[in-house]
Structures are given as structure tokens and as C-alpha cells.
């Protein structure tokens, strides 16, 4: 394995949570998630040589992963086969996967994210991942004030949505 490949594997290892969360937010169906994970990893690898150090590595990764996820989500891919641990790039340990399935709050949160359109979904992931308005605007390509306005709108929507919870 050459140095570049080793570096790349390290990047994926260090940012696996981002890929996991993006895949779960754009693909509620487990069977599709595997394809999306592979597509994201592949596009990251293809773009790895072009990484521009003037941006943070996470900004670069979010942009590629979100761009791939949105395009994938819009393609309405047909499911070809069932996923199993062997063909998933990023997966949960079995014991925790069962435990996680029971977390009602997380299910609700993913449900809420899945209801948003593709662009607001990206905004929501970045916001929940504690990014500043400046970083969100850099990744999405919209102004900082627009980010602020949109987050306030999401807050209002949330209040309506979860008023009974």
C-alpha cells in the first residue's frame, strides 16, 4: 500500500462518523445505504489528490459526501441486493446496533431529518454537528445571514413538529 492510500484510509477512519451520519440522514433504507457509503468513499478517493489545504479537511469531506448523498438520493436508486456487514464500508458493532435501534429519540431525530428536503437536510446535519454559520455557509455556498435565517425557520418547524413529544 502506498503512502497516499495509507493517508486516505486514515482520513476515512478519522471521519467515519460524518459518513455514517450523512448516509443515515439521506438513506433511511439499509439496503441503499451500503451503495451510498461506497459511492462516497470512491468519490473521496478520486478527489483526494486534488485536496486543497486552504480548506479544512472536514469541509472538503462534507462537501463531497453531501454532494454525493444529494445526487444519490435524487437518483431513486433501485435496490439490487440486501446489505450485510461484509459489504458495508462503515458499520455498527452488532451489540450496539440492536441497542441503537431502541433509541426512540434518535429515531425521531432521523425521522425529522428525513422529512426535510435535500438542501435543508444538509443544513441540519451541519448545524447538529456544531458547525459555525461561517463553516455552514462555506460548505453549502450560501451567505452566513441566510444560514441564520434558515436555522430559525427549522426551529419554528421543529416546535410545531415536536409539540406533542
Amino acid at each position: 500500500m502506498d503512502i497516499q492510500e495509507e493517508k486516505f484510509l486514515m482520513v476515512i477512519q478519522n471521519h467515519k462518523k460524518i459518513i455514517y451520519k450523512i448516509c443515515h440522514s439521506y438513506c433511511p433504507v439499509a439496503e441503499d445505504r451500503k451503495d451510498l457509503e461506497q459511492e462516497i468513499v470512491l468519490q473521496l478517493w478520486k478527489s483526494f489528490d486534488r485536496y486543497n489545504a486552504q480548506y479544512k479537511l472536514s469541509t472538503w469531506l462534507y462537501r463531497i459526501a453531501l454532494n454525493v448523498a444529494i445526487s444519490f438520493h435524487r437518483k431513486e436508486k433501485k435496490r439490487r441486493y440486501h446489505a450485510n456487514v461484509e459489504d458495508q464500508v462503515i458499520y455498527l458493532t452488532t451489540d450496539w446496533a440492536q441497542q441503537e435501534a431502541l433509541t426512540e429519540n434518535m429515531q425521531l431525530l432521523y425521522q425529522f431529518i428525513n422529512q426535510l428536503d435535500a438542501m435543508h437536510r444538509a443544513l441540519m446535519i451541519l448545524y447538529l454537528d456544531n458547525h459555525s454559520h461561517e463553516e455552514i455557509s462555506e460548505i453549502l455556498g450560501i451567505s452566513e445571514s441566510n444560514v441564520g435565517t434558515k436555522i430559525s425557520r427549522v426551529k419554528q418547524k421543529l416546535k410545531q413538529q415536536f409539540s406533542k413529544v
Binding site: R63, Q88, Y91, E100, E138, S143
Partner: protein
């Protein structure tokens, strides 16, 4: 439930992911090496095939035009077919260059707009333009093919040609009606998403 509470749930979830999310190293290496696959694979493939087919098509047309340059009745139909092939090739080259220049590490709204515009123009070109040109292609092709392959001058067979021309003239409005009556779902979807991105980009008051 407030947004801050959701953020807390998300952060808690994030902490758990640290220890419970694994990377399948072997598969990761395999996927990374699979450079032939790509997000726009089908799009690139169909454009390359079209480009090759159009390039092949240009040669007999050029040959035919060279042989009949002094006969406008044959030269013009061949020129029309030649120009349609050139137009298709220009579109294919433009599409391929745009896709190859696409950097997915650019801001989301910029890339998504580019991708969707490609989708939109591709559908418009293939569905609307080529469909509308069908009657014209049929007539010109018949004249050129009959002369080039069989040595028959179709202008000498008006009893056969006239119904074909009338049929094509009548077919054109039918095609337009059908395009309006049965709009392409992909085209509508591309327009809807472009509108969605523009709305997202626009600063809310």
C-alpha cells in the same frame, strides 16, 4: 422539543458512534481501487457512445456531399443530416467536458445546480429537440439513403414522396402535442429541484 434538545441527542449519539462505528478496511481498499466506477458513469458512457456513432455517421455524409455538391436537391438533405450529427457531437463534447471538470469538493448549491442543469439540458436535447427533428431526419435520410445506397432519385417518385411529406408535416404538430400532453417526469423533476436550490440560495427576509 427544542432544537437545543435535538442537538444534545445528536451529540450523545455522536459520542456513541466513536466507539461503535467500525470501518471495513478490506472493503474500503477494494472500493477505493475501483476507479472505473463513477457517479456519472451512465451519463458519460451514453455520451461517448453517441459521440462515436455521430463521428462514424459523418464520414458517409461527407462522402455523399462531396459526390453531389453540384446537386442541391441531394446536397441540402445530406447537409441537414451532417449538421444534426455535428450538433449532437458538439452537445456530447460539451457534456463530457462539463462532467470531467466537475469537482465535487465545491459548495453544495453550486455543484447541485450544475448537475441538475446538465440533467435538464440533456433531457431537453434528447427528448424535445431530437423528437421535433424526427420528421425532418426521416425525409432527408430517405432521400440520401435511396440515392447513396440504391442510386434511386426519390424526386422522380412523387407518388411515393408526397404522402411521406404530408405525413411528416402532420406528424410534427402531433409530436408537439404529445410532448406537451405527456411531459417528461425527469424534466419536471429537474426543473423542480433547480427551483428548490434557487429558493434555498435566496436570502430569506
Amino acid at each position: 422539543m427544542e432544537l437545543q434538545e435535538l442537538k444534545n441527542i445528536w451529540n450523545e449519539h455522536d459520542k456513541n458512534l466513536d466507539t461503535h462505528v467500525q470501518v471495513n478496511q478490506q472493503l474500503l481498499k477494494r472500493v477505493s481501487l475501483d476507479k472505473a466506477r463513477s457517479l456519472m458513469g451512465n451519463f458519460k458512457f451514453s455520451n461517448i457512445i453517441e459521440l462515436i456513432a455521430s463521428a462514424i455517421w459523418l464520414w458517409p455524409m461527407a462522402y455523399f456531399m462531396a459526390n453531389h455538391y453540384a446537386e442541391p436537391k441531394f446536397m441540402i438533405p445530406a447537409l441537414i443530416l451532417f449538421l444534426i450529427a455535428v450538433l449532437t457531437m458538439a452537445w456530447n463534447v460539451y457534456s463530457l467536458v462539463t462532467v470531467w471538470q466537475l469537482n465535487l469538493d465545491m459548495p453544495i448549491t453550486r455543484i447541485q445546480k450544475k448537475l441538475e442543469k446538465m440533467n435538464l439540458y440533456n433531457n431537453l436535447f434528447h427528448r424535445n429537440l431530437l423528437f421535433l427533428l424526427m420528421p425532418l431526419v426521416y425525409l432527408t435520410f430517405m432521400i440520401v439513403a435511396a440515392k447513396g445506397l440504391l442510386g434511386i432519385d426519390m424526386y422522380q417518385h412523387w407518388n411515393f414522396m408526397l404522402p411521406q411529406i404530408i405525413g411528416c408535416i402532420l406528424l410534427a404538430p402531433v409530436i408537439i402535442w404529445m410532448l406537451k400532453k405527456f411531459p417528461d417526469r425527469k424534466l419536471e423533476e429537474a426543473l423542480r429541484f433547480l427551483k428548490e436550490i434557487r429558493k434555498f440560495e435566496k436570502e430569506d427576509q
